[in-house]
Symmetry: C2
Subunit: 206 residues, 2 copies
């Protein structure tokens, strides 16, 4: 058997709010103990039940700003006065050790990650229909009618960004969508532009 020792894959799971990114990522990790998920850092206060280092790395605003200046984030954003970001070093360490890392992230974040790490596998999660997306956003029940319309409009706009991704997966069923992502990961591990050099070393040298 060929030793295809390689870097891990950075698998970016992204898409509009309500598409079901979070549920799919949970299922993916449940099924694949060898894949790990990147935990984001944030300056917002922990909500009830959230665990530091699991839900998020909770940080003081000043520390976060210092880390920005040090270039410690793969991407970051300020949303309603709070910062959110992806700690770079943890992700890169794992990739170097050959582990696949999942990044569950919004579209703006994914596009920033693509700029600095285009070798990532960029997967856009789609709702089965706009109607269903609306139902899911409403179903969360945590929105006012105004913020709901804003969310819905912005989800609609965001769908146009699908063209910047490598793959689109329709989340009509969490199990099926998760299996599709597993297939994508398997296929990416057979791509010649990822494993070609290893193969040529193994076979092609005279």
């Amino acid at each position: 058997m060929i030793n295809m020792k390689r870097k891990g894959l950075l698998i970016v799971i992204s898409g509009p709010s309500g598409a079901g990114k979070g549920t799919i990522c949970k299922e993916l990790i449940k099924r694949n103990s060898d894949i790990c998920i990147s935990v984001s850092a944030t300056t917002r206060a922990p909500r009830k039940g959230e665990i530091d280092g699991e839900s998020y790395f909770f940080m003081e605003k000043q520390d976060f700003k210092d880390d920005i200046l040090k270039g410690n984030f793969l991407e970051y954003a300020e949303v309603y006065g709070n910062f959110y970001g992806t700690p770079k070093e943890k992700v890169f360490e794992r990739l170097e050790s050959g582990q696949d890392v999942i990044l569950e992230i919004d579209i703006q974040g994914a596009l920033k990650v693509k700029e600095v790490y285009p070798k990532g596998v960029f997967i856009f999660i789609l709702p089965p229909s706009m109607e269903e997306l609306k139902n899911r956003i409403i179903g969360r029940g945590s929105e006012t009618p105004e913020s709901l319309m804003t969310r819905f409009e912005s989800a609609f706009e965001e769908l146009n960004f699908v063209s910047r991704y490598n793959y689109a997966v329709v989340n009509d069923d969490v199990d099926i969508a998760t299996s599709r992502i597993e297939n994508i990961i398997e296929a990416e591990n057979c791509r010649v532009d990822r494993v070609g050099n290893e193969l040529i070393k193994k076979f092609g040298r005279r």
Copy 2:
């Protein structure tokens, strides 16, 4: 559920002699009744047990030459005075109707197909090791020592062409290799550059 009505995929299974292309293709078709395999045309005489239209389309040399001039082959080659080729129309009809088509073909043929149909999925089948490739070629028992060395040398040379393919699949186990190819097909069906336009039509138009 989004209707992802699309063209079929042209899946080109290629690699050096002895890598196990044929066995993998048989398994792939056994498992997936919706995938069909392209039957080659040839001017060589049928061998015992070969069925016209299944093993090959057996043709007269003059008819084959006429078809070449008419541009009826996706690729063709002359080997030891016999012609072999892939009938173009049958393949394209099936792709248009949305059916996936497998082409089991040698490396020279695959590279020609890539020129005229770069949208194909080009998969290179690798033996688990050069030692194993040697054993498999010997195991066929139909070779003289000289032709065996020639075959082996040429297989070795051919491995360098892996870089022209999209995917490399190591055939250490037929079941696993076949599953890898199934994963690749599934993943290709999620590629934005294949389904993007359908998605944008469905969701993105205001």
